[in-house]
Symmetry: C2
Subunit: 228 residues, 2 copies
């Protein structure tokens, strides 16, 4: 680095912007909210509503799901066991970059296996990974069946369909359990927002449009890196 600068009268700051710098600027922390559950348990619906409710509070947020990952980054992957693992591994790594960039990231994937979910958890620091298990009776999911996938699976037209012909491993210790066969979408999102507040990832704000919550700046002052 120094060699590049030899003989030059320049101002170069050299310091990389850290995740903490971004938290201070944004007035909220970043983390990964990982939503897991059966097909039709409400993952996408809750992810979309959670994103809306956070955005409304000026939180930097983004949803990763099959729609935006399978058609781009992971379009080279199929649905073999190996490719499904790799699909989730990459999602975890992308989420890590987004969290590093200060984005309160939401991921909505069936992710039926404990091993995949814990590999992703391990990428994050303590408190930056929240597993949200949508507990919904299979019969309820099957009666919803918005894309007709359960019917196809019952007819044997889809192999290894979670809950029908492939297992779903219930999380042992998820940060949040939501019974989506009992709670409304709005109630479900409230549960997640409240946990994010309890964990001081987001903060109460008098005004939803306030971009700088004074109480947050105060709290964060201790860890903020001062640059002149």
């Amino acid at each position: 680095m120094s060699k590049i600068l030899v003989g030059r009268n320049i101002t170069w700051h050299g310091a990389k912007i850290t995740k903490t710098d971004r938290w201070v600027k944004n007035s909220h922390k970043s983390a990964l909210v990982w939503i897991t559950g059966l097909s039709a348990s409400g993952k996408s619906t809750i992810a979309t509503e959670l994103e809306y409710r956070m955005f409304e509070r000026s939180i930097n947020t983004f949803v990763l799901d099959g729609d935006n990952v399978r058609h781009g980054l992971n379009k080279d992957l199929g649905f073999s066991a190996e490719d499904r693992n790799e699909n989730l591994r990459r999602v975890g790594e992308v989420a890590k970059l987004l969290v590093e960039a200060g984005i309160l990231t939401i991921a909505a994937f069936i992710s039926p296996f404990k091993s995949d979910r814990s590999l992703i958890r391990e990428l994050f620091q303590e408190g930056e990974f929240l597993e949200v298990y949508l507990r919904c009776d299979l019969s309820v999911c099957e009666s919803r069946d918005p894309k007709g996938l359960y019917k196809k699976a019952r007819r044997g037209e889809i192999e290894d369909f979670t809950g029908i012909s492939a297992p779903y491993e219930v999380p042992d210790e998820p940060e949040i359990i939501i019974e989506t066969d009992r709670l409304s979408v709005a109630e479900s999102v409230d549960v997640i927002l409240n946990v994010l507040k309890e964990k001081e990832i987001i903060y109460e704000s008098d005004s939803r449009s306030s971009l700088l919550a004074p109480q947050f700046s105060k709290r964060m002052a201790g860890i903020a890196i001062t640059k002149s």
Copy 2:
């Protein structure tokens, strides 16, 4: 979706947050600034300084480089021709997600081949991909050689080293050319910032700490989606 909501008295917004929504909230647009050039041409230095200067203006920004990609998302890839292509393909797709999330993304990669760079360009809408070519004489790069890589390459200890034993294909029509053997780091970054302003991706602001540039809100009003 409707099936999930049947019989429930809930408020559900349903609408996904769009890139434009984020632009309005952030008071700047998002795009990918792709920095290409020989090893030691100054890519990382300029990327880091550009990030700093943008962050200082409250712009949401993030740098993708070998450091944060090769050790995570792309740690399964080696340095064969095929793996190098896949490395850059994935970087392009991740950048697309970041840009979708409203982040003014900076990528710093040698990326010696036109084909790789144009595949990435094609992922983006017109005006959202800016190719920045750091033009720096090979002899200058070689004299800098901060990591001793050129020496190793000359001794034949590194195969396919760009500029020595592998080609670098100069961009035909990059949005920006910077002669890093003539300009300082600060001057180089100024060039990029000025182009971002000309292209109305970022805006002049009276106060560096102002999070809402009124002139931007005005400009964006026409494309903002109003949600009540």
